[in-house]
Structure formats: structure tokens, C-alpha cells
Amino acid sequence: MLKFALSAALCIVAASNAFAGAEEGKAKATACVACHGPDGNSPSADFPSLAGQTSRYIYLQLKDFKEGRRKNEIMSALTTNLSKQDMRDLGDWFAAQKQKSTGFKADGAKVARGQKVAADALCTMCHLGGFSGQNEVPRVGGQHQAYIYRQLMAFKNKERTNDAGNMQSVMRSITEEDVEALSHYIANVN
């Protein structure tokens, strides 16, 4: 499934060059919509939603994929030929899209527990109230639950290390059960 999507997307990347020019970011984003959704709201938790994400965070993640600091086969292939300007335009375009509900049904007990864990870990000191994000700190409120869970576990297990240590340190002493609770809580925030 992923393989198919990848090759499809690569075709779109090639095609998109022909259309480049109209509205920079929008045209460039045609290479992304197969997975991340036509307006950046991805239909599947396999792919993070990008709509309403901060432009700066998107730019820095693309740079990290491109330069190998964040590891993902699909995304590193897709970023190989992106220029700094491409990445900035893409960031701006996705940031300007409206985030929509993923329709996730959260577990009430997990939400309550997640809220407590989040308060103690001072998550919003960086991510801001509602996990709305700022600059290089991502918006995670309303993101796909399974994606959030995967990322938090990846930080905890030091499989994702492009965070300058901040998330790895935060997650180190949080149990797997609490990660599950956190992911329900955050996915449920709008």
C-alpha cells in the first residue's frame, strides 16, 4: 500500500513541475496530497495531517528528512530534490489550510489521565494551550491519535532523534500506558 502510494506520489512530483508558478505552495503541494490529503487533512492515521501546522515546523521537518536527521523512507525520497524555497512555500501553504476534525472517538478515561500527564510534563509550556504550536514547536492538538502515539513512542525509544533532545527527555520517564493516554487526550483537543 505504501509502495503504491509512493510511486504515485513521485509521478505527481514530476508532473507538478509543469504546473509550477500559479500559487507557489499550492502547486508544489500536489505532490503531497495523495497521502496528506487534498487540503492537508489526511484521511488516514498512517499520514500526519499538515493543515494548520506551523509553517516553520513543516519547513524544518522537510529539511530534516532531506538531510537525514529524521528517518522515513518515503519522506526522504520525496524531499531529495526540494529547495529551501520549495520547503518554505510548502510550509506556508499547509499552514494556511484549515485543520479539520479527524473524527477520532477518544476514550474518556484515557483523556482524563492524559490531561494530568500533560499538565505534569508541562507540554503546553512549549506547545502552547490547546497544543496549537508556535514556530518550530508543532501543533499536535487534533492530530491523528495513532500518529501521535507512534511519534511519542519513537521519541521515547530514541528512534526519532531530530528533536534536539527535548521530546526524548520529556518522554523518557513517561510509561507506555501514559503515552496511550496522552495520545487520546491530544487527538481529542481541537
Binding site: 508541562l122 508556535q134 514556530n135 518550530e136 528533536d163 534536539a164 533532545g165 527527555s169 520517564s173
Partner: protein, 574 residues
């Protein structure tokens, strides 16, 4: 050189214009006039007026009241006897619903206030009517850790000066709000940003920088008020000698549990080039002694906050109070509170010049600072030698346990004690008033190399201790003895700052929206008003037409996630 700077700015503006238009379509870097002509009472802010602020009831010309930064208003109309009758005169609502830390300036009945994201408003300080509204056009990159805050403008002549989140300094025409010049202070892609209010003296605009959470190299710079040209730079991290004296003890004589042998080994092995990313931001307004032409400021934490092995040595001049020459920026003296800090317990609250008993018991010119540690420190203004430190204003515990990967508990937490909150001093009572917070935390370390300036770099994490109560405390400290004269506790940690008045009243706000007045002598609560959003900004006092007003912003706070608002409340007696 000049040309290059211009084109860079122009390029940044065009790009930001593209983004801005796509997102909003508002007019930026331009002022919108309300149509109401600027009040005829607005005067040019002369050096003479600025120097005379300490005894000036009418204006409020410095973020902290005067060059000495006492935040003590000389007006007595509102006093301990009648403050209970204080009523709102008007509320001014801005267009920006985000944390407010502004200390409004008032020039002869015209108020200049700022909001998050660098908006500036000029309003009538009696009626609240708007004259103009300036919105800064933010460049494509701004990097800041703790909210899109701004603490206010400085005024000089017919200009206002503001530092911006994208690390620019802008000069505005006070009458119209139109931009007169703009200059880049430092590179925002390397983690530099501005939230502090500058200070201006003799045609020099003095400003520091944020960025201790991004691996910057801190500084204080002086810019020409007319042209924006750089006049001098004092780097808070010297290229040579930042390892200092390998201090084992903190300012109060407690052992900091450093492994100095290991640090020396690391320095010998890895060299000392890390001075370029060692932090040391200066993010609160400096004090100026106009007699000796000395600038005093406090320097923030080393970068990264919690991981020390990558930066062996005392990390001078982080966590220090520093004095430099006003005309040249040359080093005069310093005193370091915590060498090789790994708790982010840096020096932040702006220093105050006042009088207290020296070691010999005689009245001495001193500089005081309220620490995140919970102590008020009293220094000899000449040498910065520590004369005394106060009793701890909040609980301390486990000092100085080193951070661990799993987290080590120590009090105070990383926000203090006294955060950036400016103190106020009543020199007649010899009391310093400090807004404190109590927030038990664990300190976590994580080995992390410098990520390049574009990402937050703490080298670990701070967490609050589950189930432990957090609270605030307004403490009055006798600066002659270091003893606590009184304390008034609040439900929530205090973040915002204090105003003291000659009427014997002390004002401060709380995150729950309460704005309170206390008896300066004994801490009795005399009055309270619910502003409906967190009062987390320093109050100011001014007088127009013989009537005294107290103004304070209620916009909440990002860092402690207090309820956001968008208003400045102004109070007077009926």
C-alpha cells in the same frame, strides 16, 4: 555595509508581504489611524524629562518608572486609606488576544502600549480613545521559547523604540505611529528574538536579546536613536576566560556539587569554542546610573539549560549581574550568582539602583536583584560585591542536586522564585517588593549536541511534581537586613511584576484575573478587582489633570497558561 543591510531588510519584507497577504490581508509595518488626531498634549520626551522621572507624578516614561528602575510612583492621591474605593476608569481592548507583558508608557496623557506579535497602540490615557495602531510586519522566521510576548516600548524625543520577535529594532513616530527606521539586531534563524523593552539615554537605544534556549551568544547593544546605527556591543560571553574561577559555591555559599576535575578535562579535550553558543541572553531592561554613566543588567542562563558537560567552566557571564560603561560598552564589573548553571535558575528580574546599608552599616548606593533562587541580592554599586542576600522568599529544597535523565527533584523550580517579574522598591520603608512563585519541579538532563540555532535546545526537560500544590507569594524584603518584613500568599504562581506608590500601596496581579492592592507597610490586602483574564504584566501609575491613574494589562500568560485576554485596565478614584 549599509546597503547590504537595507537589501536584506527589503528582501525579508517582500517575502513576509507575500505570506502576510496570503494569510491575512492586513496592512503591516504601517500604522492605521483611528481618524482621531493625536492629542495636542503629547510632548517630546527630552533627556531632562527622562532624568527627572523619579519625582515625576505625571508621566510614566520608563518601563520600570525611572533609570534606577525602582517602580515607585511618587503620586499619593491613591493611598492606603482610599485605595479600597478604586474603580475602573476605562478598559482598552486591543486586537490581539494573547499574553500581555507590556508596561505602558504615558507621556503627558498619551499612553503607548504593546501586545503580543509586536502591535503598538497610542491611546488617550484618560478616555481610552485610540489615536493609532501599528502592526509590525513579521519576517519569515521568528524563534522564541515562551510566547509571542512584548514588554513595551521606550520613548525618546519624538520617537518610540520596540524590539521585535524577529530580532529587529524599530523606531516609530510617536505622533503618527509611522515607522521611521528599522534595523536587524541579530539573526532570528540563529535563535535571537526580542521581547524586552529597550531603554534610551543620550541618544543611545540599549537592548539585549532572548535566545538562551537556542544556543545564542548573548549581548547588550547600543544603537543610535536617530539612525539605528550600531554604536557598541557588549558580548555577555567573552571569547576567552568564560571558564572563570571554577567556583564551587553559589552566591549564598552553598556547594553546587560540580565535578570540576571532569569539567577541566572536558575543556582541555574539546576546547572552548562553545562560547559562540553558550547563551547568556539579556532579556529584561537594564538600569542606568546617570551619575557614573554605568549600565547594569542581569544575564540569563547558559545554553543548553540542563546539559552542562558540553560547556565546562563557570560559563561567564551567565547567571550574573554585570556593569558596563554607558558610552563605550566596556566591562566594569560583574558578580556571578550561579556558576555552571544546570537548572535554568538564571538572573532575569531587572536590577534596581537604590540605597541600603553597606557592610559598614552606612548608607551606600546599591544595586539589587530578585533571583529565581528566591533571594533578593544587594550589591555595592561600585564593585558589584555582594553585601547581603535576603532570607529565602519561597521554599528551597535539595539545592543543588544535579539533574538526572530520570529527573531529580529540587526547589525552587526553573521559573523561580522571582521570574522576569520586575521588583519595586520603597526607599523610605527600605522595602523591596518581589512577586514570587512556588512550582516544585524535577530536572531532567539529556545529552544533546547544538542543533543549529533553529530548534529549542534545553538539553533535557523540566516537569512539575504531580500532586504538589503551586502558589504565589508577594514578599516585602528589608534591604538593610535581608529579613522578610511581610508576605502575602496567592493561589497561583505570580508572574507579572510589582508597582509601589508613595501613597503606601503595592499593586500586583494574579493569573486568575485578580488585580490587588496591598498595604506597603504590612501586606494587608486593601483592594481587589477581577479583570477577567490573567493580570501578568507590570502595573504603572500616572497623573493627568491632577487625577492619578493606575494601569495594568490583563492578557494572561503563555508560559503558565493563564487565561488570555486583550485588555489594558485603567483605574482611578471616583
Amino acid at each position: 555595509m549599509k546597503f547590504q543591510k537595507m537589501t536584506r531588510i527589503a528582501a525579508a519584507l517582500t517575502f513576509a508581504g507575500f505570506v502576510g497577504n496570503a494569510l491575512a490581508g492586513e496592512i503591516e509595518n504601517q500604522s492605521t489611524s483611528s481618524g482621531k488626531p493625536m492629542s495636542k498634549s503629547l510632548v517630546s520626551v527630552t533627556q531632562q524629562l527622562l532624568n527627572a522621572s523619579t519625582n515625576d507624578k505625571n508621566h510614566w516614561l520608563h518601563p520600570n518608572g525611572n533609570y534606577a528602575q525602582t517602580r515607585h510612583a511618587p503620586a499619593t492621591q491613591i493611598n492606603a486609606g482610599n485605595v479600597g474605593k478604586l474603580k475602573p476608569a476605562f478598559v482598552f481592548q486591543t486586537a490581539v488576544m494573547e499574553s500581555m507583558e507590556t508596561a505602558p508608557l504615558v507621556v503627558n496623557g498619551v499612553m503607548f502600549l504593546t501586545t503580543s506579535y509586536n502591535h503598538v497602540y497610542a491611546i488617550d490615557a484618560v478616555t481610552g480613545e485610540e489615536f493609532w495602531h501599528y502592526k509590525h510586519k513579521m519576517g519569515p522566521v521568528s524563534t522564541y521559547c515562551c510566547g509571542p510576548n512584548n514588554k513595551g516600548v521606550a520613548a525618546y524625543g519624538d520617537l518610540l523604540f520596540m524590539g521585535t520577535l524577529d530580532a529587529k529594532l524599530v523606531a516609530l513616530d510617536a505622533k503618527t505611529g509611522k515607522m521611521v527606521w528599522e534595523t536587524e539586531i541579530a539573526d532570528p534563524e540563529k535563535g535571537y528574538s526580542e521581547t524586552m523593552a529597550p531603554t534610551v539615554i543620550d541618544g543611545k537605544v540599549l537592548i539585549g536579546t532572548n535566545g538562551g534556549e537556542y544556543g545564542i551568544r548573548g549581548f547588550v547593544k547600543a544603537f543610535d536613536a536617530k539612525t539605528g546605527n550600531l554604536l557598541w556591543t557588549f558580548n555577555t560571553i567573552p571569547e576567552k576566560g568564560h571558564e572563570g574561577v571554577w567556583a564551587e559555591k553559589d552566591a549564598t555559599g552553598r556547594n553546587m556539587l560540580r565535578n570540576i576535575a571532569k569539567e577541566k578535562e572536558l575543556l582541555a579535550k574539546n576546547g572552548s569554542d562553545f562560547y559562540q553558543t553558550l547563551g547568556g541572553g539579556v532579556w529584561m531592561t537594564p538600569a542606568v546610573d546617570t551619575d557614573t554613566r554605568t549600565v547594569y543588567f542581569v544575564v540569563g542562563n547558559p545554553s543548553p539549560d540542563l546539559y552542562g558537560d558540553i560547556r565546562p567552566g563557570d560559563n561567564l557571564y551567565t547567571d550574573s549581574i554585570v556593569a558596563v560603561d554607558l558610552d563605550t560598552g566596556a566591562y566594569k564589573s560583574h558578580f556571578q550568582y550561579i556558576a555552571h548553571d544546570v537548572w535554568d535558575l538564571d538572573a532575569v528580574s531587572p536590577p534596581i539602583i537604590t540605597t541600603a546599608k553597606g557592610k559598614d552599616g552606612k548608607d551606600t548606593k546599591v544595586v539589587i536583584h530578585g533571583g529565581k533562587t528566591g533571594h533578593v541580592y544587594v550589591h555595592d554599586a561600585k564593585t558589584l560585591e555582594l553585601i547581603r542576600f535576603s532570607e529565602a522568599m519561597i521554599p528551597q529544597e535539595n539545592m543543588w542536586v544535579l539533574p538526572t535523565p530520570e529527573g531529580a527533584r529540587m526547589l525552587p523550580g526553573a521559573n523561580g522564585g522571582v521570574e522576569w517579574n520586575p521588583l519595586a522598591v520603597n526607599s523610605k520603608l527600605r522595602l523591596a517588593y518581589a512577586a514570587n512563585l512556588h512550582q516544585p519541579m524535577t530536572y531532567h538532563v539529556e545529552e544533546t549536541p547544538y542543533p543549529g540555532g533553529d530548534k529549542l535546545w534545553l538539553g533535557g526537560a523540566f516537569k512539575v511534581v504531580p500532586g504538589e500544590k503551586q502558589w504565589g507569594r508577594l514578599a516585602a524584603v528589608n534591604i538593610d537586613t535581608g529579613k522578610i518584613a511581610w508576605k502575602a500568599d496567592t493561589d497561583q504562581p505570580l508572574m507579572g511584576g510589582v508597582l509601589s506608590t508613595a501613597g503606601g500601596v503595592v499593586f500586583t496581579g494574579e493569573g486568575n484575573g485578580m488585580f490587588n492592592a496591598y498595604d506597603a507597610k504590612n501586606g494587608k490586602k486593601l483592594w481587589t478587582f477581577n479583570c477577567g483574564a490573567g493580570v501578568n504584566a507590570p502595573p504603572v501609575s500616572y497623573t493627568v489633570g491632577g487625577k492619578q491613574y493606575i494601569a495594568v494589562a490583563a492578557g494572561g500568560n503563555t508560559q503558565l497558561d493563564f487565561k488570555r485576554g486583550n485588555s489594558v485596565f485603567v483605574f482611578a478614584l471616583p
